[in-house]
Amino acid sequence: MLESAETQVDAEKIAATVAIEDLGDEVYEKRGLGVLAWIGIGWLVFIIGIALLAPVLPLKNPMIGDYLHPNASVFSPGHILGSDASGRDVLSRVIWGARASLLLAICSVALGTLIGGFLGLLAGFRGRATDSVLSGFTNILLAFPQLVLALTLVSVFAPLRTASNGNAPPAHEWGHRLLVVILAVGIVSVPILARITRASALSWTQREFVMAARAQGAADKRVMFREVLPNVLPAMLSIALLGVAIVLVLEGALAVFGVSIQEPNPSWGNMIFSQLSDLSASPAVWIVPSILIFVTVLALNYLGDVVRSRFDVRESVL
């Protein structure tokens, strides 16, 4: 890969000296993404598609147990991936859990990217006092241990339900809890995205084309959104992809403390946690979501790297 990049650079140089005035398009061949990246994209599309289609797929109810077959083993009839101690179907729970986990991860990172990205862009672009204030703010947020901050926010805004009758909490309550977790994790991710965006915006703002845009009479707001932001987006996207991966893992950690999606609603995190006391009873219950987290995080990390190298987001910017 490196070699082909070099030969391309050489080709550009040669073309630049030979045909100075008019370069053909063929010199700038589009680089492919590579097989691994397509596998990653394929996996994400698959998992998100399955999660979206959960209501229409022929699945058992993920919250109602089949008391005739508790702790069913993998490939047993009716329970392809087995069942848990209450006889709930693992396949169904893992797909409904994907819905919750991915919704949480994507929405919270989107929120963090929106807020953090805007603050970072503003800080990097405006510099001076604006930068000092905003950077101070993000540094303070970063100084909090992230897990503790998320835990605190969730506990304050959505206290644990004490009722343990096994019934699903009312739908609105499930939504409320999810919303609070999204907000909490979103706030936690704000300073990280703000920092990355600020660094990138800072370096792009000093580029000559920004000065050229100003010299043509463009106002600050226009320069910031039209000139700087499009150049900063790849860095933001790259970090956002990693962020989704981190939040998927973080959700598991929150589940350990019981502040993620609440039982009996499934999420990948609380499925793993539910079996922590007895790992060997029905291993599929924690192994399947673990594998899903692993593969999804891997795909996201890899795609983040692809975005970064493709758009030349340098390490120094990070």
């Binding site: 045909a19 100075i20 084309f209 000065m211 050229a212 100003r214 010299a215 043509q216 463009a218």
Partner: protein, 378 residues
Amino acid sequence: MIRRKKTTFPGTERFADAPLDGPLLEVDEVKTQFKTERGLVHAVDGVSFTLERGKTIGIVGESGCGKSVLSRSIMGLLPTNVVRHGSIKFEGHEIGHAKAAEMRPFWGTQMAMVFQDPMTSLNPVMRIGSQITESLRVHFDVTKEYADETAVALLVSVGIPEAERRMQEYPHQLSGGMRQRVMLAIALACGPKLLFADEPTTALDVTVQAQILDLLQQQQRERFMAMVLVTHDLGVVAGRTDDIAVMYAGRVVERAPTRSLFEHTRHPYTEALLKSIPKLAMPSHARLDAIAGRPPDLVKPPSGCKFAARCPYAQPKCLTDEPPLDDPDQPGHSYRCFFPVGSQAGRDALTRNLAAGETATGLPVRKEGEAVLTGVTG
């Protein structure tokens, strides 16, 4: 039909009754200083000139002499750690201390700039077309279709083939020369009266340089713009400007009509710049005359003549007194030197230095005023 957008700044309304006589630009004793940790950097130190409509002035000097800072001072494109003195009048309006918000209505419509490196002065992720129409849509209340048509016409006028297709392309798809043409189209979009070209060809391949310079000149004439051409290369401005100001250490050391400057060079620095240009008549592998030493520290500029330390004519007087910018020989041809090139005083000074083997500053000299290069040779 182009209608002007209303702006909050009253500046633009004034252009309606702007006087059509009188110089377009009057620069008077402009000083631009930067506050740094080392102290105040005197980047531009008392520069004055006037520029008539439709005329061209060349600002020449080596790197760090303040020529780019001067053009940015006039445009008001300066960082925040700047200290500004002096007066700049554009069509009679004082803009020497205007804030960015006050200058914005001027930028693009009244004055525009072509930057040095077309590789970095175009936005890599924006289509060529959008980059040209951007300022049209900022300043004028025009439809997208009208702006696009104007942009295509601009691209054609700066000599870009297949302009329609280029509109949809990104900067990386164009060569350096093409990008500089696009930069020029962007600068011309809103019909400025004053165009700054800041080393417009330095980053380009030599074979394209002449094309771009000819294009600049052609556009400047067709549009009756005034132009400030900033360069380190006297060869670039020869034959393309009406006047030339040679700058050294933030000051104008010689200012004259182009012809007079080349025919009756007065300042030793101008002479040294001319000598450093390779000529076709030279034998191959002939050593070029470099100017010994480096420009002075602009935080603590030396007393006396700023060029004395590198000047083969330097006398004791040059170290203590600074020569004024004056035109004793020909009106309009001013220079800052006690021992000008081509005068009896200058010849005597050089003879004395050659006899002594060194100048008053200790710079070794031998034959014909050539400074001996010490240290690395070849």
